[in-house]
């Protein structure tokens, strides 16, 4: 069980935690943070595997992921702001009008 395998397991664990966080946590902001966690878990695994396969493509992808994560949050925050302004609560289950 060399160092890289360990790191890979850590990445998978982080990913699982992130996903569970989105599923369980009520608070919208925490859900967004968990999504970030999932992305970073993917980054970690990318970097580990780049090191393992001794190629740089994985590392390049990590930068792209940072850019995309930033853009995503840039969109998510205004949505959350607008939602909160209407319903004055951060609880995700308050926003369940669209159903059926």
């Amino acid at each position: 069980m060399d160092k890289l395998q360990l790191l890979l397991l850590l990445a998978l664990a982080l990913f699982a935690i992130g996903l569970l966080g989105v599923v369980i946590r009520r608070n919208l902001l925490v859900m967004l943070m968990c999504m970030e966690l999932m992305l970073n878990a993917a980054n970690l695994s990318l970097v580990t595997l780049a090191r393992q396969t001794d190629t740089s493509a994985g590392a390049v992808l990590v930068f792209l992921v940072f850019v995309v994560a930033a853009a995503e949050i840039a969109i998510a925050i205004p949505i959350v702001l607008l939602l909160v302004r209407r319903r004055h609560t951060l609880d995700a289950d308050a926003y369940a009008d669209l159903k059926g």
Partner: protein, 467 residues
């Protein structure tokens, strides 16, 4: 070719469609910033889009093959045709948007950038470009859904779409990383290699990537966001999501799978879930009150049909998906174009308002009727020929049981399509006639959608078997 390994000429020519889109985006932004009273965004966007479509068609017709960024981005006739199709399908969306977003700069910029993402994805050779294209396609759409913020639901819709889009991206990345770990390269060929090799990590990688695309294409059980997102967004954005985003995702999946035959477990994966979504989509659509929500479930079912095409053997797949996308896309756009214009966007598509529409707006009702019939797959309309093509391929590849089950699933869908026609034609209800101007504007969009579709239906031979 200069020392960096790419030639300026290649970039200019091969990337013509993308460049033209970029030009359009820049022009709109310039007008937005500089002009005191910004207008003309539609004209610029429309012309940029039209030129890009023409460029893509020229590249396809010319059979141009180029690798402006070797290993990352290649241009070949197949990709060019896909781009041309996707860009062409967006033209009616622009026409549709003339009511909600009359000269609104942001809408058109977001639309063009989303299209840029699609073009990137369709020519991607490596997961880097594919990832970039996928995200560039999705992010603008989250905002587009948000643009209808006069309606509270659009916020909730955008949120759900974003969260699930994010989950898809994360899964995609994890899958890519595992693939990358397994094969050491980021090129798409790694996926086809992983398909055939029988080791758990490779299969897990393939499954994760597939889940990402299932999420994007809204296949059951990853479809939950679609009905809410479609209902929350304004009509043109819903049309864009239902037609262009879905087409782009499916064409990308097609590029991913290439012409490799599917191994056992993956076949069941690619067959069972689409079959489930055909049945689920067609059944759930029966009870919908809102037109857009019904179209959402219908598009879930159609995503099922599109994924079915993957069951067919290699070369036939591409042709089937492109034909289906065109036929399905045009008819969906025709349906949206024929929707009655009302001030309040939400009430606009409430199915009860469809009662007796034939008496109020005969042209619109007929167009909507034709669109519904085609989506139901009833000959002699294009929907039937497209469905025939897909099921022919599936059966030719030997999966007869899946084909029969798929056909029976599509039978379930006939009811709710005909219910719309029943509401419009057979349940008389009074109401003011549709304002002349609105009808005249709809006529243009409808003709643009209807004529090519009917030509496709009457002379499929011209397109099929040629590619």
């Amino acid at each position: 070719m200069n020392r960096h390994g790419f030639s300026w000429l290649d970039i200019a020519v091969a990337l013509a469609p993308e460049n033209l889109l970029l030009l359009g985006i820049v022009a709109i932004l310039a007008v937005e910033i500089l002009a005191p009273k910004p207008r003309g965004a539609l004209v610029v966007a429309f012309s940029a889009l039209a030129l890009a479509t023409v460029a893509a068609l020229v590249l396809w017709a010319g059979g141009v093959v180029a690798e402006p960024f070797p290993g990352e981005f290649t241009v070949e006739p197949g990709a060019s045709l896909a781009k041309a199709v996707v860009l062409a399908l967006t033209l009616p969306v622009l026409l549709l948007a003339r009511d909600e977003f009359p000269q609104s700069g942001p809408f058109h910029v977001l639309l063009l950038s989303s299209l840029y993402g699609v073009c990137l994805m369709l020519s991607a050779d490596s997961f880097l470009t594919l990832f970039l294209g996928l995200e560039m396609l999705s992010l603008p759409v989250y905002v587009l859904v948000l643009l209808a913020f006069r309606r509270p639901e659009s916020l909730e819709a955008a949120l759900k779409y974003l969260v699930l889009g994010g989950a898809a991206t994360a899964t995609f990345l994890l899958g890519v990383s595992l693939l990358y770990g397994g094969t050491g390269t980021m090129s798409l060929a790694a996926f086809t290699v992983a398909l055939s090799v029988h080791d758990p990590m490779a299969t897990a990688a393939v499954v994760l990537v597939l889940v990402a695309f299932f999420l994007k294409a809204a296949v059951v059980p990853f479809h939950a966001w679609a009905p809410d997102a479609y209902e929350g967004a304004t009509v043109p954005v819903t049309a864009y999501m239902a037609v262009v985003v879905k087409a782009g995702v499916l064409l990308a999946v097609l590029r991913l799978f290439g012409e490799a035959p599917l191994p056992g477990p993956i076949v069941d994966l690619v067959a069972v879930l689409p079959l489930l979504s055909i049945v689920w989509g067609n059944l759930a659509a029966m009870r919908q009150k809102s037109f857009r929500r019904m179209i959402a479930y219908s598009s879930i079912a159609h995503a099922g049909y599109l994924f079915y095409a993957l069951l067919g053997d290699g070369p036939g797949r591409y042709e089937a998906v492109v034909f289906y996308v065109v036929a399905y896309g045009l008819m969906n756009l025709l349906a949206f174009a024929a929707l009655p214009r009302t001030a309040d966007d939400a009430a606009r598509d409430h199915l009860d308002r469809f009662r007796g529409m034939f008496h109020r707006n005969p042209f619109g009702a007929t167009m909507l009727g034709i669109a519904m019939l085609s989506l139901a797959g009833i000959p002699p309309l294009p929907g039937f020929v497209a469905k025939f093509l897909i099921f022919k391929n599936v059966m030719a590849a030997g999966y007869t049981t899946y084909a029969v089950l798929g056909l029976v699933g599509s039978y379930l869908g006939i009811y709710f399509y005909l219910r719309v026609i029943q509401l419009m034609f057979m349940s008389p209800a009074e109401g003011p006639a549709e304002p002349r101007t609105a009808v005249r504007r709809a006529v243009g969009t409808c003709i643009v959608c209807l004529v090519p579709a009917l030509l496709l239906a009457l002379f499929p031979g011209a397109v099929i078997g040629r590619g």
